[in-house]
């Protein structure tokens, strides 16, 4: 039997890892931070809501359904917004605002959907928690096992795809130098499009599992994005393995740190939970702005050095990646 807060920390870290891998991966291929990433998670949350409350199905079906829905949303954002803007020579900041606009679009749509569903599901369409819908294995919550298995599987799949397949090599080439990859006949835009599809789908999957342990609202997607930023910054924004470790570091710090502080100082600490990743991000930026992957590069850890994405994209101020 694990204490509830430990289960919570592991579940949260697994989901955060999926989200931050996606955020970093999408950034590396397209060189645009996808601020609509939290929106995809919010869609995932509402897929679970629809299945459980409206259709009264097992919440785990949502995983299968959310992947294509959120993947398509994300791909649509890339195709319809990012590519259109890139063709007109938009810079990094303009592209980022566009993803924020996409996030707002999703946020508004999710809220409209939640309001609409209120007629069917009552008050619970805006705040819900499905811990009681979950199964248990040897006293452990099902979502703990499922999220861990999913996280391990997805990371393995991503690793195999990136190191063993032709598409993976094309992706790595795009990450390293998109122009050069283009001259070798790699359709870098297609690579980015597919990576946005996959990362959007992963965000959706992470979203579907959130309501099984954490209270969810239409706002959850935007709130979890703070942890995703922090995890990606800790990871260095240059390697999906960095993002993996960052997701776990921030996830555990956030949940366990909050329980520890709440034990120590009282439960008034609990609402400030989202400030922990922000503070962690500040510390990392002040101390090691290149993040864990950059640190590993510096001290020359062989394994990570040969990693899929070398942190060569790290450039100082002034050399923005889209320059």
């Amino acid at each position: 039997m694990l204490p509830a807060y430990v289960s919570g920390a592991i579940i949260y870290s697994n989901l955060l890892m999926l989200l931050s891998i996606g955020f970093t991966f999408a950034y590396l291929t397209a060189k645009v931070p996808n601020f609509a990433h939290g929106g995809n998670a919010a869609i995932g949350i509402y897929v679970t809501f629809t299945l459980v409350t409206v259709l009264e199905l097992n919440p785990y079906w949502a995983i299968l359904l959310a992947f294509p829905i959120c993947g398509l949303t994300s791909a649509l954002i890339y195709r319809g917004v990012i590519q259109a803007l890139k063709r007109r020579g938009a810079g990094l900041i303009s592209l980022s605002i566009a993803t924020i606009a996409a996030q707002m679009l999703i946020f508004a749509s999710v809220n409209i959907y939640a309001d609409y569903m209120r007629g069917i599901a009552g008050q619970y369409a805006r705040v819900f928690l499905y811990r009681n819908q979950d199964f248990e294995v040897m006293g452990l919550p099902g979502v703990l096992l499922v999220s861990t298995v999913l996280a391990v599987t997805i990371i393995t799949l991503l690793h195999v795809m990136l190191t063993r397949t032709k598409f993976g090599i094309a992706t790595r080439a795009t990450v390293e130098n998109a122009d050069l990859a283009g001259t070798l006949g790699i359709d870098t835009e297609l690579v980015s499009l597919i990576s946005w599809f996959v990362t959007g789908g992963l965000a959706g999957i992470a979203g579907t599992l959130l309501p099984l342990w954490f209270q969810s609202t239409p706002y959850t997607g935007a709130l979890i994005l703070m942890s995703v930023f922090s995890a990606s910054v800790v990871g260095g924004m240059s390697s999906i393995y960095g993002a993996m470790v960052g997701g776990y570091v921030i996830g555990l710090t956030e949940v366990l740190g909050t329980s520890f502080l709440a034990d120590r100082f009282g439960s008034w600490v609990l609402p400030y939970r989202s400030l922990i990743p922000l503070i962690a991000m500040f510390i990392i930026l002040l101390g090691v702005p290149e993040g864990l992957a950059g640190m590993a590069e510096k001290i020359n850890i062989g394994h990570i050095r040969r990693s899929v994405f070398r942190p060569s994209t790290f450039v100082g101020r002034g050399g923005s990646p889209d320059a």
Binding site: A101, L275, G318
Partner: protein, 366 residues
């Protein structure tokens, strides 16, 4: 005269909102339009200004008049505010002094806050700065909604009415005063960007390496502009609080104080204050129209007005950025004295170049 009454209400309402958003958008234009700092956390400064007003205006006035000192500041804030208002009604000087004092404190506090937030990330990659600022904008909301003594958490605190001594003419007088303040801010920023410093920040935006090579401290310049913009934007929060006589933490959402100013800026055209003015004005009118005709709209589209508005605005921003990225009024290049543009145009025409430089010179001659 009911019609006249309604007319005044609509005009003052529009002018107040226009003024608040104009200040924020001008600050954003200084930061992003001229210097290229992507401030995705504008709400931080606006909320900061409002929180300072909510937390301090009542407390300072309470100490000054020593009324209601035994009451709880947040829970009895309405009672305290009405006690203070009774005193302020006959004390115009104290009202004005409180108003100015709060403005100064709020600007200092928010300049400091801006510095703290920007310090770790302004010298690293742009993406980091964006993420830190988005997160900081969320953080201030979390603090405001949960730290009860600040502005009452999810309830609100009453702000003393510092213009109560104006009596019946208060509404119009305050609108005029706020318009005047916004006009001063506009002029100030216009002066800044027209000065040599204005040329410097545009140069920082265009090419930091070149500016650095000329011996300028680009990190310092960016930090300075960020701090200045934060202080200016906090003014909007202060005015908002003094106008509505209350501060409510839930009123400071990212959608209305970060996203909307960005939309106004992109619509009007970044890097030029006239465009900013036009964009702000247009959107305020549209927004007010949506609010006024809310019920009529809801008969056709059964969606809550705030989500419909957000949906329309975000879709609109994407369309503007794709089809008219320079906005309504495009930024004009700086004209430099003693430079012979005609000669440059001839040279570029002779060499048969149709490059950007030639285009730029042609533009100057128009």
């Amino acid at each position: 005269m009911l019609n006249q009454e309604l007319f005044i209400t609509i005009i003052t309402d529009i002018s107040i909102w226009f003024v608040l958003y104009l200040i924020v958008t001008v600050a954003l234009n200084l930061q992003y339009g001229y210097t290229g700092i992507p401030n995705f956390g504008m709400v931080l400064s606006v909320a900061g200004g409002a929180y300072v007003t909510g937390a301090l205006a009542g407390r300072i006035a309470r100490l000054y008049y020593s009324v209601g000192t035994d009451l709880d500041f947040v829970a009895d804030s309405a009672k305290i505010a009405s006690m203070i208002n009774d005193r302020l009604a006959t004390d115009p000087l104290a009202g004005i002094a409180l108003f100015l004092l709060i403005i100064v404190i709020a600007m200092l506090v928010n300049a400091f806050l801006g510095f703290i937030v920007a310090y770790p990330s302004i010298k690293v990659r742009e993406v980091y700065l964006m993420m830190v600022l988005i997160a900081a904008g969320e953080a201030i909301r979390i603090v405001g909604e949960n730290y009860y003594p600040l502005v009452g958490g999810t309830t609100w605190v009453q702000v003393p009415n510092v213009f109560i001594w104006l009596g019946d003419s208060q509404r119009i007088a305050v609108s005029v005063l706020f318009v005047g303040i916004a006009f001063l801010v506009f002029l100030l920023v216009q002066r800044i960007v027209g000065s040599p410093f204005g040329r410097l920040i545009r140069a920082v935006r265009e090419n930091e390496t070149v500016v650095e090579s000329l011996g300028k401290d680009t990190v310092g310049i960016r930090a300075l502009v960020f701090v200045l913009g934060s202080a200016i934007a906090s003014l909007a929060g202060v005015l908002y609080a003094f106008h509505s006589h209350a501060v409510m933490a839930t009123a400071f959402q990212r959608s209305s104080w970060t996203f909307l100013p960005w939309l106004m800026l992109m619509l009007g055209g970044k890097g030029n204050n006239k465009g900013t003015l036009a964009g702000t004005f247009l959107l305020i009118i549209v927004r007010r129209l949506i609010m006024i005709f809310k019920y009529e709209i809801q008969q056709f589209v059964p969606v809550e007005a705030i989500w419909l508005e957000l949906l329309l605005m975000s879709g609109f921003l994407i369309l503007i950025m794709i089809y008219r990225p320079e906005g309504l009024i495009a930024e004009k290049p700086i004209k430099i004295r003693d430079l012979d543009y005609q000669d440059m145009a001839d040279t570029s025409a002779r060499s048969g170049e149709s490059n950007e430089g030639g285009q730029w010179v042609k533009w100057q001659l128009e």
